[in-house]
Symmetry: C2
Subunit: 251 residues, 2 copies
DNA sequence: CATTAGATTTCGGCA
DNA sequence: TGCCGAAGTCTAATG
């Protein structure tokens, strides 16, 4: 891991430092007092203040204030950079096309500058989404109810895709809408849309909203539409844990 | 501006550094080789790799890989922190309630640690979204068409809120749906919903979708529903620029 | 405190 | 490349 650090660099030092870092596609961090202008999908200005500026090796550009999770200004990956010096001030400009956007930082003073090229070849393993729920329900249909048999997932209808389509123990069609989080009005409306696609045979069609919980409003609407709610938690085991479990049982 | 920097701190040094910084509610940056576990709304794990760890003074917690704009793991503001040492490794744990979530970083090695308390009392001035469009159309109704008179904004109907309601030069009702970006199918569907709320008087009602551009599919659907498209850019001048213009005319 | 709608949403997947 | 849908969305405003 290579890392280079400079405290309180002068303008010329900083610009050399930045150009060196940019040419190496390094991960750059600056703690600077700066002004910011953005023009693109919207327009913004931010007056003088201390901020943390980050340029990633994929061309992401982030400027953070000392509060909020989101950066106050940013540019998505593949942004191109210019670092220039003008009247003894360093300007960093990041721009991209489609849509055209530019983000310009006028740096008054830099307290800390660092760049590094690290090693990281891991990707996030994440569990707890609708996809996992679909898998789970397909594998264990009784989680919905006894006798339920799923027939297809992501079934295309006029209004979109039905998460899971199947039949219940009486052979009636069942439309299942999955939500990995607390379901709201919108989930009910979505299910209703799919439900309506079968209005010719409504007597033999059931709509089930499966989610860990549901808002009161949504429950009311659901009942009004004569549809049902099934409490269902998304699986939260990671894949390798599932595999471990499988391996365990195989032994 | 106070800033403290340490390169390659040992575990004990790092933990003291972190606790000092946390007690001062400083802005902390670490460049470290680490493992990450998250458990809360979902569950995730990230194997060993070099990452940039940020803790803000409002309790935001961000961990960045060298790619993508978004952090690979995070915790929203008001997160509480623990920095402990175990088997000569530093663990940083950030947790919050409602919903309960925890984010744990196991630090194997730290290349750079810094904390600072900066000065920043500026807030972002931003322009160019739906609210600005509403204002603009109310002020200059002819932007929609000659003779258009807006009567109310955010008019409540069964299915939600109509952006702008008004009458055209013939006295017919006009429903306007605004989008600050390229409008897609959903924008048309939304407008159609509002449109349908007036189906008793459909002959005297027009639906207009106003946006900078529209997708081909959306345009087709719009025409099928006998509604209209009006090309309209959101205003992108900042407030003080607007004021300058006003002042200019007042003089 | 919960809910909602908008966002410079970002991001991934698919046509 | 453009479009659509989901997200640990986040965030500000509102009841």
């Amino acid at each position: 891991m290579k890392i280079k650090v400079k405290q309180n660099p002068e303008s010329m030092e900083l610009i050399n430092f930045l150009n060196e870092a940019l040419s190496k596609r390094a991960f750059i961090i600056l703690i600077s007092c700066c002004r910011i202008k953005y023009r693109g999908r919207a327009t913004s200005k931010l007056g003088l203040g201390d901020r943390t500026i980050v340029i990633k090796s994929d061309g992401s550009f982030l400027i953070h204030q000392d509060h909020n999770l989101d950066p106050v200004n940013w540019q998505p990956p593949n942004c191109k950079f210019q670092a220039i010096i003008e009247e003894n001030k360093v300007f960093i400009r990041g721009f991209r096309r489609n849509p055209y956007e530019s983000l310009e930082v006028e740096i008054n003073k830099t307290y800390l500058a660092s760049y590094h090229v690290g090693n990281d070849n891991k990707t996030l393993e994440l569990a707890g989404y609708e996809e996992d729920m679909r898998e789970m329900v397909f594998k264990d249909p009784f989680l919905i109810e006894k006798g339920f048999r799923p027939t297809s997932r992501e079934y295309a209808v006029t209004n979109g895709f039905i998460d899971i389509l199947g039949k219940d123990k009486n052979g009636d069609l069942v439309i299942i809408e999955l939500k990995s989080r607390r379901a709201g009005i919108n989930a009910v409306k979505q299910l209703k849309k799919y439900f309506d696609d079968f209005e010719d045979h409504k007597k033999f069609v059931r709509g089930i909203l499966a989610a860990p919980s549901i808002t009161e409003d949504a429950m009311e609407l659901l009942e009004k539409y004569k549809m049902e709610f099934k409490e269902l938690e998304p699986p939260k085991e990671l894949n390798h844990e599932k595999n471990l479990t499988l391996d365990f049982f195989k032994k």
